[in-house]
């Protein structure tokens, strides 16, 4: 695809986002403020971090349905380690990240080396992680540890008296690291290559197996990181958290211009996708009178619109040849 053409899905996404934001700002008095904008990053931090990991998986042509449950598993592990075993928060989070990485690596290994469909393996992973989280602790665990509370209170001061909380900082950091990995590293190029055509990539010398292990581990790490962020946000670990988060993440990635077939798209698009989802949700909340169920319908329709746009673009590319 020629230069501009390739970016049309992302540009369309940005366009829709700006349109939505403008419409909401015109409609609601307090929408257009720095605090509201910062809140997008804070409230959607967990989803956003998960979506960054999901971007890599989808770029490689796979899918990861387990992320929501891994978020819950990670949050539960952290909360239990801190509250019941009196670990330091950072150590607990390190353990959770390790668990996420290993879990992802296991799934990636089964997918690649045992040749099972990613859908099925990550589906089983979803059940497994959710079950493990509930086994570790059935009910949510409230965290009273002062060290964690201090971490949760960290915020970067901005203008106008607003501040960027630590959860949002982690989200932005994940976006930057994700973009760097995808665009400026060999492993990122390998991910795109596999998504485009895994056989061709293999014949070119790309280490398909290792890259697949990488993307699923990365997704697991992102999910665990999101779980850690969730504990900071809610000051508790909830084994029932993250239900259907994987679907929201997939929706954000697709809306952001990454094709489900893989090979096309990227992390910046995912940011736009997350922001669009967040804007719709916030707008409906501001509206007050509309029931929040309209959010689901709106997201579904938006998803449809972006899928059709992607279809249109790829169809016109095919007709060009």
């Amino acid at each position: 695809m020629s230069g501009v053409r390739r970016h049309i899905p992302l540009l369309a996404g940005i366009g829709v986002y700006l349109l939505l934001y403008a419409a909401a700002s015109w409609r609601f008095d307090h929408f257009f403020s720095l605090q509201v904008f910062v809140n997008f990053f804070t409230d959607n931090a967990a989803l956003g971090i998960v979506a960054v990991g999901m971007t890599f998986v989808i770029l490689s042509g796979g899918i990861d349905l387990s992320v929501g449950s891994v978020v819950a598993l990670s949050a539960t592990i952290i909360a239990v380690l801190i509250e019941e075993y009196e670990w330091a928060p950072m150590s607990a989070m390190a353990v959770a990240l390790l668990v996420g990485a290993i879990f992802g690596m296991l799934m990636g290994g089964i997918i690649h080396y045992l040749d099972l469909a990613p859908f099925i393996v990550t589906l089983a992973g979803m059940f497994m992680a959710r079950g493990l989280a509930l086994i570790i602790h059935l009910e949510p665990v409230a965290i009273h540890d002062s060290a964690l509370k201090r971490i949760a209170a960290i915020a970067l001061p901005l203008i106008d008296g607003t501040a960027l909380p630590v959860t949002a900082i982690v989200f932005v950091a994940a976006l930057i690291v994700g973009t760097y990995l995808a665009v400026l590293t060999p492993v990122g190029r390998a991910v795109y290559a596999i998504g485009g055509d895994s056989e061709a990539a293999r014949l070119m010398g790309v280490r398909v197996g290792r890259t697949r292990l990488f993307v699923y581990s990365l997704s697991g790490v992102c999910a665990s990181l999101a779980g850690a962020v969730l504990t900071l946000y809610q000051l508790s670990g909830d084994p029932s958290a993250g239900v259907s988060m994987e679907l929201d993440a997939i929706a954000a990635v697709v809306i952001g211009g990454t094709a489900l077939t893989g090979g096309v798209g990227g992390v910046p698009g995912t940011l736009i996708g997350v922001l669009i989802l967040g804007t719709i949700q916030t707008a409906i909340m501001f509206e007050g009178t509309l029931s929040s169920w309209w959010t689901r319908v709106a997201i579904g329709l938006l998803l449809l619109a972006f899928i059709l746009l992607q279809r249109l673009l790829s169809a016109s590319v095919r007709s060009e040849r």
């Binding site: 099925i120 497994m128 079950g131 169920w293 059709l308 279809r311």
Partner: protein, 338 residues
């Protein structure tokens, strides 16, 4: 000679092996779990753990029937849970708020479910959207629609004629089981007796070749999704009738995953092809047996999740590796290229 061939064919049959696995599980269960193998008749109605498994597994079995068709044509239907919720919500509204006759209470939700299925089918065939994404849309939006129908509330109702769908019994056997048998038999007959079955598997095997052979590929695919929708509608009706309430938040939540697992355990490949309907039913029962047994032993449902996950991976692995071994074993040595 004929007898030997038949028994050999039977043992090679993937479906028979799975049925054997299920019966083996039930047998072991009957021996180790107290009261599992017991049947008793109370008030002219059959009771027992196995009956319970069949009854509780009915919604997933119904979904698995439709899902088998969809997966056989290389598709997938993630929206069946939301379609269940829509059907249940409509039925409850029609009874509780609009007091409609039974025909409408049953007919309208089923019609809506079929329309949802056709919607999915058209997205996939006419607009060329990938099945995962196409049905993801309805999965996300459909639950919102169900919630809008009931205004976000749980609607309870009293209508004995409708409740029969979920709680009634004919000849002592729960109606839900009869429904599963009827639907599975109808679809199964359609697959094996008519040429529709051959068409479905041809499309799943190689869509382009099927189209070049003159098959109405798009029509059959839409039919598959419509059937899946219908099955979801039926499942939603019996689920709603069972609890005498429509819960748009929880009805059918995540049940599509159980249905997909059931179909895959049953031996239908996700890349399409041979439709193993009985296998899918067996797969659903295997999972339901796991869940019910753990429940009977006082083990929490969270262990059932882990057990399901392990079971799926193990069975899928066994199917893959074994299939390759068997296939290699069938090819005479001198014809093998490896």
């Amino acid at each position: 000679m004929t007898d030997a061939r038949l028994s050999r064919r039977l043992f090679r049959s993937a479906t028979f092996r799975r049925l054997a696995v299920l019966l083996l599980i039930w047998l072991i269960n009957a021996m180790v779990t107290p009261n599992f193998g017991r049947f008793e008749i109370r008030d002219g109605r059959l009771f027992g753990s196995i009956v319970d498994v069949l009854h509780r597994g009915a919604p997933v079995m119904l979904l698995a029937v439709g899902m088998t068709l969809v997966i056989s044509v290389r598709g997938i239907d993630l929206s069946v849970g939301s379609i269940m919720a829509i059907a249940g919500a409509l039925a409850a509204q029609l009874i509780a708020v609009h007091d409609q006759p039974l025909v409408v209470v049953v007919g309208l939700p089923l019609a809506a479910a079929v329309i949802c299925g056709v919607w999915n089918g058209l997205l996939v065939t006419a607009l060329g959207v990938q099945p995962i994404v196409a049905t993801l849309i309805l999965l996300v939006a459909g639950r919102g629609v169900a919630q809008l129908v009931t205004g976000g509330q749980i609607i309870t109702f009293e209508r004995p004629a409708f409740e029969f769908l979920g709680t009634g019994a004919m000849l002592g056997v729960p109606f839900t089981i009869w429904l599963v048998v009827m639907v599975a038999a109808t679809v199964g007959a359609g697959l094996r007796i008519t040429s529709l079955g051959m068409y479905v598997e041809a499309i799943g095997g190689n869509e382009r070749a099927a189209r070049l052979c003159g098959l109405r590929v798009r029509t059959i695919q839409v039919l598959a999704y419509a059937t899946s929708g219908l099955c979801a509608g039926l499942a939603g009706l019996i689920a709603t009738a069972d609890i005498k309430a429509a819960d748009p938040n929880n009805c059918g939540l995540y049940i599509e995953l159980d249905a997909i697992l059931a179909v895959v355990i049953g031996g239908t490949s996700l890349s399409g092809g041979r439709a193993r309907l009985v296998g899918a039913l067996v797969g659903a029962l295997i999972m339901q047996t796991l869940t019910t047994t753990l429940l009977m032993r006082g083990v929490g449902p969270e262990y059932a999740l882990v057990a399901k996950a392990v079971a799926v991976i193990v069975i899928c692995l066994a199917y893959t590796v074994r299939a390759r071994e068997l296939a290699a074993g069938l090819v005479p040595r001198r014809l093998r290229t490896e």
